[in-house]
Subunit: 122 residues, 2 copies
C-alpha cells in the first residue's frame, strides 16, 4: 500500500523535523485538523498541540531520530507500524508500535504503544 | 491491570462460546452497546451483529478455539493483546493482535490485525 507508506513516512519525518515551519507543514499534511494522538506518556489534539508535543519530545531526546522498522500493515481505514528512536550510530533508546485511523489520506487518530521502554533518560 | 485482563478474557471467552444465549451474554458484558469491530475480513456494529459475526467464525473454523498469547498492554483507555486460533492439540491456524478502546469497562471499538495468516481454509 504505497499511499499508507507515504503517510507513515511523512509522520516519521514530522517527528524528526526540528525546523518549526517545516514541522508544522509536515504535521498538517500528516494529520487531520481535529486529529488525536495518545501514547502512554502524552496526548495531543489538533495540529498545533501535536506539533508542540513533537517539539517537546525532540527537546527531551536531542540528537535522536525516529525511524520505521518492519513493514506496515493496513486494512480498511486502519494501519499499524513500528518505529525506533536512536541516536545516529548509537543504541536504540526506545521502540514502539503505532495504530492509526486514516481519513482522507491523513491520520485522524494515532495510538502509540511502547515495545521497548526508554533505556536511559537524558 | 487486572480489570483489562478480565475484559480480554471475557472477549476471548465470547469468541469461544458456542451456546447462543451464553455468547450473547458474554458479548453484552464485553462490548458497549454501540461497539464497532473491524479486522481485515469482517466488521460488525452493535451487540447483535458482533454475536452473529462470532458465530459465523465459529462455523467456519469448527473445533478451533481462540486463546490469548503474551501479555496485554494497556494505557489510558487503550489496550492491545494477541491471540491464536488453534484446534485442540493441533497446529496454530492463525494469530493476531487486537487493539481496543475501552469505555466504562467494556470495549467500545476493536481493530484486529493478523500476525499469522490462516494457514489452511477448511
Amino acid at each position: 500500500m504505497p499511499e499508507i507508506d507515504d503517510l507513515i513516512d511523512r509522520y516519521i519525518a514530522a517527528w524528526n523535523e526540528t525546523d518549526e515551519a517545516r514541522r508544522r507543514d509536515l504535521v498538517a499534511r500528516t494529520f487531520a485538523p481535529e486529529a488525536h494522538y495518545i501514547d502512554p506518556m502524552m496526548q495531543a489534539t489538533g495540529l498545533a498541540e501535536i506539533a508542540a508535543m513533537i517539539r517537546a519530545v525532540q527537546q527531551r531526546f536531542p540528537d535522536h531520530r525516529f525511524r520505521r522498522i518492519g513493514k506496515s500493515d493496513a486494512h480498511n481505514d486502519r494501519a499499524r507500524f513500528s518505529w525506533e528512536l536512536a541516536s545516529e550510530g548509537g543504541p536504540v533508546l526506545a521502540g514502539g508500535t503505532d495504530f492509526a485511523v486514516v481519513a482522507d489520506g491523513r491520520f485522524r487518530a494515532v495510538t502509540g504503544f511502547l515495545d521497548r521502554l526508554p533505556a536511559t533518560q537524558p
